[in-house]
């Protein structure tokens, strides 16, 4: 007998014959969609679609689980299901009670189908205004792209399972260097127009639009360009598409509003999504080639190295496993600096040391590049009744390092740089940028204190076993520091310096001066 539908903790069992995209509903709300051909595991007698990672932590409790075909809404399965042992109802909602679902980039998000009519109106209005400013103020050939264009051409409406709004522009440049500079210039102009802009890569940025319910919607502005005869659209689309498919721009209608579109939208959509673009598929994933992703990564996304990992780590429950008291290194450093001297804790993580330095009477700036660290540091500081300033700095971005370095170099006074476990998380570019930053900040006074695991401990088991780490040779690090004009004035290498749980790695501590004596 053919396998029937079943839903449990491990996943969704589906019959071998199922090929259509299926929506998964919990208590009537869509939480996820899957494509059985792509997502199912096992053989024809036991075909199971495993739960996606972001849903797994929420599968504890009871819900009315339903499976419905996406295109024609045919009910395939419906039953009260209990996950784990809890008897409460599963609730997938944000802080304001808005239902969440797994979006196409694999994140739990509020999507347009869960967005009120009034908000949808405001989102389209914002897209319209963003496009207007990109065209009229920034002088770009900007148009609707991705999901917004797809929805407009299919039925004139936004796509329910989308969680962001997408626009693009055809760059007048044909070299990555010029394309990046153009994107920087455009983002600057947009900020001057009053928009809140967040940079996503060298060739795309996000415009944040506040919604009346307190949430915000992101309008992504993707660069599109020809380089060497190939057409590219950020993130990683690459292929052959003639300029005449894009320009001169035409118009399409989205939620009753006329908006700019590529000259031949159907051809543009076929380039974006493939020949099957007309059939709705909320389980759609881009299947970019490794070479295309590598090329775009190196051109535009090098500054995002390892970012997602740390952002997710500090946003997860695993961050709670980090001790909250001061590290032995913080105490070692505190004995060596003047009372009340200023400390820049670079790569502060949860802020355990930053908060402790503040409690000892040091003005502290806690710096990290994962935005998720800020809330954790603020909570810890509040618990301990101290004040700690926080700031974001991406050491993989030379632009950010030059600007932050210039800011501190201009200000007088002595400040120490404290970086525990930072070098372990950086690659060679980030490390070089960190030395440059320290040399700028401390050109007159102050010392840099760094602590890192050495290469000796590379293959030893670690407390956070999946952390991305670089294990360094102290002699190599000293050479790098000297190449950037620094002097190592103290060096300690050994074990028992930073034990964590069962872990007791070999550690190197360095004290560096950058002033010219």
């Amino acid at each position: 007998m053919a396998q029937q539908y079943a839903v449990d903790d491990t996943g969704i069992a589906v019959p071998d014959s199922l090929a259509e995209t299926v929506d998964v509903l919990f208590d009537g709300n869509r939480v996820w969609s899957f494509n059985p051909t792509r997502d199912a595991r096992g053989d024809r007698n036991s075909r199971v679609v495993p739960w996606p990672k972001p849903l797994r932590p929420h599968l504890e409790g009871v819900t009315e689980a339903a499976l419905v075909t996406h295109v024609d809404g045919r009910a395939l399965y419906s039953s009260e299901v209990r996950f784990g042992t809890a008897s409460r109802r599963i609730r997938l909602a944000d802080r304001d009670g808005n239902p969440l679902s797994v979006d196409k980039s694999g994140r739990l998000q509020r999507t347009f189908s869960n967005t009120h009519e009034a908000s949808r109106e405001l989102i389209v209005d914002a897209v319209d205004r963003v496009l207007r400013d990109l065209r009229e103020v920034c002088g770009l050939d900007a148009f609707l792209a991705y999901g917004c264009l797809l929805g407009a051409v299919r039925d004139g409406h936004m796509i329910g399972h989308d969680s962001d709004a997408d626009v693009s522009y055809l760059s007048r440049y044909t070299h990555p260097f010029d394309i990046i500079r153009e994107s920087y210039r455009v983002a600057r102009r947009m900020r001057q127009q009053g928009w809140t802009v967040a940079r996503m890569s060298g060739a795309d940025f996000k415009v944040w639009v506040p919604l009346p319910d307190g949430r915000r919607c992101g309008v992504d502005v993707f660069g599109a360009f020809h380089v060497g005869g190939w057409f590219h659209v950020m993130g990683s689309l690459r292929g052959h598409l003639d300029r005449s498919v894009v320009l001169p721009l035409s118009t399409v209608t989205l939620e009753g509003r006329e908006l700019p579109a590529p000259a031949r939208p159907e051809e543009f959509l076929a380039f974006t999504y493939g020949p099957g673009w007309r059939v709705p598929d909320p389980a759609f994933h881009f299947d970019h080639s490794r070479d295309d992703v590598r090329r775009m990564d190196a051109w535009f996304r090098a500054a995002r190295r390892r970012y997602r990992f740390w952002h997710d780590f500090y946003g997860s429950r695993r961050a709670a496993k980090v001790p909250t008291g001061p590290s032995p290194f913080a105490q070692w450093v505190e004995e060596r600096i003047q009372p009340g001297s200023r400390v820049l804790d670079v790569g502060c993580g949860t802020g355990r040391d930053a908060v402790w330095f503040a409690a000892q009477g040091h003005p502290v700036l806690a710096i990290d590049y994962a935005s998720t660290h800020r809330a954790i540091v603020a909570r810890l500081a509040k618990e301990q009744g101290v004040s700690v300033q926080t700031s974001m700095l991406n050491l993989e971005s030379l632009r950010a390092v030059l600007l932050a370095g210039a800011r501190w170099a201009h200000r007088g006074g002595r400040r120490h740089i404290y970086a525990r476990g930072l070098l372990d998380t950086l690659g060679p570019t980030g490390r070089a940028n960190f030395w440059r930053f320290a040399a700028m900040v401390q050109r007159r006074s102050g010392r840099t204190f760094v602590e890192f695991r050495t290469r000796t401990s590379e293959h030893e088991p670690t407390y956070f076993h999946t952390h991305l780490r670089t294990f360094l040779d102290p002699a190599e690090v000293v050479r790098e520091i000297e190449a950037y004009g620094g002097r190592v004035v103290n060096q300690v290498v050994g074990r028992d310096l930073a034990p964590l749980g069962f872990e007791n790695p070999e550690i190197c501590r360095l004290v560096v001066r950058w002033d010219q004596q």
């Binding site: 980039s105 260097f177 990046i180 974001m392 570019t429």
Partner: protein, 82 residues
């Protein structure tokens, strides 16, 4: 002479494939390294051009303002997730 015509014997061919694989890996790494220079150069040129004009004018107030304008973008330029 082409390398393949030299590599008549299977063990020679294996050695050649191994050597070529190593060279392709090294070439790919060099290509990636060169691609990354685009953004690093754009970063430097962006900062320099924004502050150079007021600096050339010896206008310290404008220089500070230009620097501050760039610094104001730092948080916004920090990476975020889509």
């Amino acid at each position: 002479m082409r390398p393949w015509s030299r590599a008549g014997r299977p063990d020679e061919r294996d050695r050649l494939i191994e050597a070529l694989t190593r060279r392709v890996d090294a070439l790919e790494e060099s290509v990636q390294e060169n691609r990354r220079l685009n953004q690093r150069l754009a970063d430097v040129v962006d900062v320099v051009t924004e502050v150079l004009v007021p600096a050339a004018d010896r206008d310290d107030a404008r220089l500070q303002a230009a620097l501050q304008r760039l610094i104001d973008t730092l948080d916004a330029d920090a990476p975020t997730t889509h």
